[in-house]
Every structure is written in structure tokens, then in C-alpha cells.
Subunit: 297 residues, 2 copies
């Protein structure tokens, strides 16, 4: 299925946001009016056996991941998570011990981030599936969307792209980085790289009405990955964001980051609509293809 | 898996409701403080291919059902639905047309009940799975929980129990009935019969600290069902509620119900903890077993 096409069509059909819904389909979270200073956030990410994990990955790890991917979505909007509701599908022969281990992982990470479990559903399913729905809150002045990037802004990523194949279960959502940015710099746009840098920068460009140029040699790599893999590996859950050069200068001289800046410039936004370019190491300019890593292949 | 045991254990582990969470695991919806007059409601029900539907049931019908089961949960608390977020798992080879038909059903029923689509997720999954998370609102004085029934209250069900095998896709959630009751009578306790009358009256009794006596001959039947099937068929989504005899007298002389009362008395609550009894047609008193209909069997 051509997911982008289907989602764009659905967005049209769902109609304009209304009543208290400020922002519906098309960002990492839906955004609702809350009070004079804050919005409420709502996101939902489903993970499925053999697509996002294998049963041998460990039930506790799988439970953790189901929550972590949603924390990443809340962080990508500059928010703080509050509550989750969890639907779990388990094979009929699954034991209570399996259920308990999944919730060991869920409740552990909830404890780390101050999230409370509000409810959910447990059903019978041939393959395991966990769908977490998460609410959060964000100060209005700290909300970061996909749509605010401007031509000339620099493009950043948080830390060397993690290897989605080996680190997709154990990753730490970039929550602290999001707090630091939201409170001190409010990037012009932000998204998490759940599908990979290339497909996700495309989304950010589409929403912002800009193009971009990414520098292959600037992409920070974790061991065992090359730059092309780093562009297309999904399940890495870094934050990808943009910021004016003026703010970027301030960021790179920020004394609080003396221990080492966890943010890496990988390119810049351009005024060229639909112009996604990759500047290769040899200086060749290529069109940046947006296809993401297809999970387990 | 012994679901009841696992859920009860999880409820302990999740800890006390706190902050704005008034009521967590253990009812049809989680309940949150909203303002001086209203609570917010949050529920989430997952439906899985070959457990809750078959692919041949029609994609639009399946989409409708995924929302209807959640409306039933909101109605069971006396509330009105507001927003949904939808996670869908589809086989890799599913076409955009399939996605569109599922959303035809989702958006159709959303339109009928004034619900707005806020967001969600679409992922790859061997078997189809749809998980809808729904928010709603309820006036504080109209909230109906599972826990308010008292010894001596009468037990009601809305309409003849539907045949879960044939009507599980096309059912209309008992929303109008819930509105009528919430606005005029506020039953002492309410639950929807998603698992069947017997397992769900047990939940209501457990939460209320009561027992009950159900009369086999009083259970209204749709054609093709006997009373025992009606007790154990899940996927029927009637409302099961309790009310004092005084209120019940008023209900049965209510002029607004002249066209025929859609509520049927099927028994009464007793003070006997863990005493669930079924009075058979011949007058024999049996213990009411709580096992529900195991969906497709």
C-alpha cells in the first residue's frame, strides 16, 4: 500500500480540525486546546510481531518499546507524557506470566517518565500486537510541529543514528533532548525519525513547504552503519529538527552543553519545493529518495 | 490465559488513580477530572481478524464495528463520544482501496455520532487488526459505574440479546438508551455486555460487592437463541444496568416509553457476596457460571 497517498487522502476526508481539536492527522500527535497556557497531546503507535519485533526479543523489552515509541512522538512535539491506555493481542495459549512480563516493561518505563496507566483492552490474537495510546501536555509556546521550518534553517539530528536492527528495542526516547530544546530554543520544526531520516525529512519539508540539502558526510553514524543505511533505517527514534542559524550559533556556544553537544547539523532547508537533495561525499548532488527502511526487510 | 486474574493483578500494580485520573482500570472507560460539571472518558477496544471478525465480513462493516464497540463503552458510563484515534494493521499486499473501505465504515459511524477523527497509526500486520481509542465526556451527576448496585436493585437489559454470531458487525450501540437513562434515571450501576450477560453481571456484582438472581424466563431472546446462549454470547453489546424498585416503577409508567419499553427486567441484586444465581424455568436454583462465549468458538 502507498501509505503516504492513503494518509493524505484520509486527512482530506477527516476534515478540518474543529471544536477543541487544534491539529489532527499529519503530525506526531494530535493537538487539543486545554487551557490558556497549554495544549493536550494524543498519539497512538501500534507494534506488531514480525513487523516491529520478534517474540524472541523478550516480552519485557517488547512492552518497553510499545511505550517508548509513543514517548518519542510526544517528545517530537515538545511535550511531556501523562497517561497511557494499552491494547494487547495475545495468542490463546499465552500464559499469565507472558502478560505480566509485557507489563513489567510497560510499567517500568512508565515509572521512569511519570506516566500513569489508565486502561485498555486484552484480546486473543494469533500474532502478538501491542497498541499504546498516550496523552500528554505541552506549553503552547513550546509546541514544535512539522510545519514551521523556513528556507535557510539548519537541519539537526539528535545523536548518531542508532542501528534500527539491533537497537530498536532498547532505545531511550530523546525526551531530555526535547525538553532542553523546547525550554531553551524552540526549534522551528521537529519530527521523530521512526521511519528513517530520509522519509521523515521529506514529511517535514512537505509540511513546511520547503526543500532541503543534506550532507552525507555530516550524518553522525553509530558503529556498523554507513550514511545511506542511516538515512533509511527506521525504528531509530532520533529527533530531527530545524533552527535558524542565529539560534544555532547560540546553541553551539551553550555552556550547558559543555559535556558535548548531542545535536548534529546534517544539512539546511531550502526554498525549493519538493527539492530534497543529498550532497554526497565526493560533492555530487543527488535527489534524496524518500523510501524508508522496511523494518525487518 | 485467565484474563480476570491477570487484569485484577494488573489493577493492583497500576496503583491508585492520581492527579486528574479519577478511575483507572476496572470499568468500561477510564474517568478523568475535566471541569466542575464534567468528567472526561477514555476507552480503547481492539478487534482482530479471526477473533472478532473475518475478512469476508466486509471492510466497511469491520471499520464500523471498530468504532461501535467503543461507543458502547462510552454509553455504558452514561457519556457522549467526542474523538477517536485509530491504529490499523494491514497485510503488506493490502490495497489503498481496502484502507479506504475500512475508513468508509469508520467515518460513516463517526458522522452519525458526531465523533471527530484525531489521528492514529497504520502498520504492516499479517492479520488485520483495528484498535480504536475513544474519548468522550459525561456530566458528573450522570456517570454510571459498575460499582453502584445495591441489594434489592432490579437488573435490566436493553432489548433482546442479539445473536453475537450474526449481528456482531451490524449492531447499533445502545447510545440513545444510555442517554435516556442517564438524563432521567441514572441507574445505580451499568456495564455493556461485550462478553455476555453472565460474565458481565459477574463483573458488576464484583465491583458492587453484591450477588444477584437472574430469572431464565425473563431474559428476552432474539430469534434463534435460547436463554443459555443469551447468557453466554459475547459481542452483543447490550447495556446491563441496575436500578432501585422505586425508580423502576417510575420507569415502567414513563409516558415517553409508550411506544414500548426497551428495557427488560431479568433479575435482582442480592446481598450475598459471590452469590450469582440463575433461577431456571422449572424453578430450580443454579449457580450462574460466568464463562463467556469464546467468540468464534
Amino acid at each position: 500500500m502507498r501509505e503516504t497517498r492513503a494518509i493524505n487522502e484520509l486527512r482530506e476526508r477527516a476534515g478540518k480540525a474543529g471544536k477543541s481539536l487544534v491539529l489532527g492527522i499529519g503530525d506526531d500527535c494530535a493537538v487539543f486546546e486545554r487551557d490558556s497556557k497549554r495544549f493536550s497531546l494524543w498519539c497512538q503507535d501500534m507494534i506488531v510481531e514480525d513487523t516491529h519485533f520478534r517474540r524472541g526479543d523478550g516480552y519485557k523489552n517488547i512492552g518497553r518499546k510499545s511505550v517508548a515509541v509513543n514517548i518519542s512522538d510526544i517528545a517530537a512535539m515538545g511535550g511531556v507524557p501523562e497517561y497511557i491506555s494499552v491494547s494487547i493481542g495475545l495468542p490463546e495459549n499465552a500464559s499469565v506470566a507472558v502478560f505480566r512480563k509485557i507489563y513489567d516493561g510497560i510499567l517500568e518505563i512508565c515509572g521512569e517518565y511519570g506516566i500513569a496507566l489508565a486502561g485498555g483492552d486484552t484480546v486473543r490474537s494469533g500474532k502478538m500486537v501491542i497498541d499504546v495510546s498516550m496523552t500528554g501536555t505541552v506549553f503552547k509556546r513550546q509546541l514544535m510541529r512539522r510545519s514551521g521550518a523556513k528556507s535557510g534553517d539548519l537541519v539537526f539530528v539528535t545523536g548518531p543514528v542508532r542501528n534500527g536492527k539491533t537497537e530498536h528495542l532498547s532505545f531511550r526516547p530523546r525526551f531530555d533532548e526535547s525538553r532542553f530544546l523546547a525550554e531553551n530554543y524552540t526549534p522551528s520544526a521537529m519530527i521523530d525519525t521512526s521511519d528513517g531520516i530520509a522519509p521523515d525529512i521529506r514529511r517535514l519539508c512537505e509540511e513546511s513547504g520547503t526543500g532541503c540539502r543534506l550532507y552525507e558526510q555530516a550524518i553522525p553514524l553509530s558503529s556498523g552503519l554507513d550514511a545511506v543505511e542511516a538515512l533509511y533505517y527506521g525504528e531509530s527514534f532520533e529527533l530531527l529538527f530545524t533552527m535558524s542559524r542565529r539560534k544555532a550559533e547560540r546553541l553551539f556556544t551553550d555552556k550547558r552543553l559543555r559535556a558535548g553537544c548531542p545535536f548534529f547539523i546534517i544539512g539546511e532547508m531550502t526554498g525549493e519545493k519538493k527539492g530534497l537533495k543529498l550532497i554526497r561525499a565526493a560533492g555530487r548532488v543527488e535527489n534524496l529518495k524518500a523510501e524508508g527502511y522496511r523494518h525487518f526487510g
